[in-house]
Amino acid sequence: MSDNNSILETSVAERLASEALIVDVDGYEGPLDLLLTLSRTQKVDLRKISVLQLAEQYLEFVEKAKELRIELAADYLVMAAWLAFLKSRLLLPPDPKEEGPSGEELAAHLAFQLERLAAMRDASARLMGRDRLARDFFARGVTEDVTRIRKVTYTANILDLMQAYSRIRTKDEFRPLSFESRDSILTMEQALDRMRGLIGFSGEWTDIMSYLPEDWAGDPKRRRSATASTFAATLELAKEGKLEIRQHETFAPLQIRKREPQGD
């Protein structure tokens, strides 16, 4: 590649770049990004950059944008104003009466900012270029979660216990069985009446349970009450000599039958 060619290419590249700058102004992330890009055209170490030259380039860029009626965001214009100020400071001999940082100081700081931004760009590229998890190296494919074994222990103290007991004992709903509900109670009188009527027909030994009123044999509470009162009634009738009771063995069914009048 000849020198001529390369010069030509550079100028073409530069022209393209400057056009791109204008077209792509939105592609820049603010004035600092733009300044950094412009500084690249100086092809020197960022530490040796000519801030004055950079300021001129930037101002030129803004001028061009204006010519092309490209609307620049406010921060680009603010930067332009500041660079114009910086440029004048750099060009004019320092005024000893003027307060504030010198043009050189301001320029140095801008150069620092550019260098720092460039360094961060470089660092981010290096970071993203590292071997990365799930791309270059990998974690365990099958993981075994720690199974949490929950062991529940229950506690209660003596106070809980006593309170629970008193709660039951003082519960409004609490009633001894016989008061619980009248309609579940077959009184002994009722059973006796019933048995007196029925026993006359029972010549054979019959299971006492068959004497329970039919509608009292289902529901356990009613069955229980009917059993008790029927049993009590049979005892009463046996005492009166009206019937006999027998049981073959403990827990065997109770059987009853009419007792034939004696002495007949």
Partner: protein, 225 residues
Amino acid sequence: MTEENESLFEAPPMGEQERMVEAILFASADPVTIRDLAGRMPHGSEPAEALVHLRKRYEGRGVRVVKVGDAWAIRTAPDLGFLMQKETVETRKLSRAAIETLAIVAYHQPVTRAEIEEIRGVSVSRGTIDQLLELDWIKLGRRRMTPGRPVTFVVTEAFLDHFGLESARDLPGLKELRQAGLLDNRPPPGSDLPETEAGDDDQVDLFQAESDDAYLEDDIIDDDM
């Protein structure tokens, strides 16, 4: 194609192949077949042989190379399974049903389930009884010598231990409960318990509460158990 031709592809040394198998088995979510291994490794590799080496290398280690069906995987050594468990102890209050049931057993023992239901006025779930049995706070007592011979429940040594009692008889009686303000002064409506009597009778009548009407019922109650 002769075999010599294939060797031109120069498979990596066996040590490298072993590393590859190791990495693949490590990173795969599922067990990997030899065929899969061969498909992923450089041409000419011999995953089966590499596996033999790898398996040997992991012998006695914290993880092992194991065969799962037709495929291979790395798994935790069985004796270290305990490391994958974390026991957390959670303390919970006993449910109201459980504490009430427990109180009834303590005050009325030996007591049948039907009697517990009678006293609580609601049915007692199997779970509640089981929980108390599991806690080793109640146990089965003698069967009641009534029709159906229902089982009874009594409290255990562990119960006495937990509640700091020498015996169930040490439980405060109704009168003491009342004095301690744990019990309303209002006697339960229709209560025929002689709780107003003087002396230490409370305890006795508590343990007698099962008396009277309670017992005829047993045969019926059993059916429910």
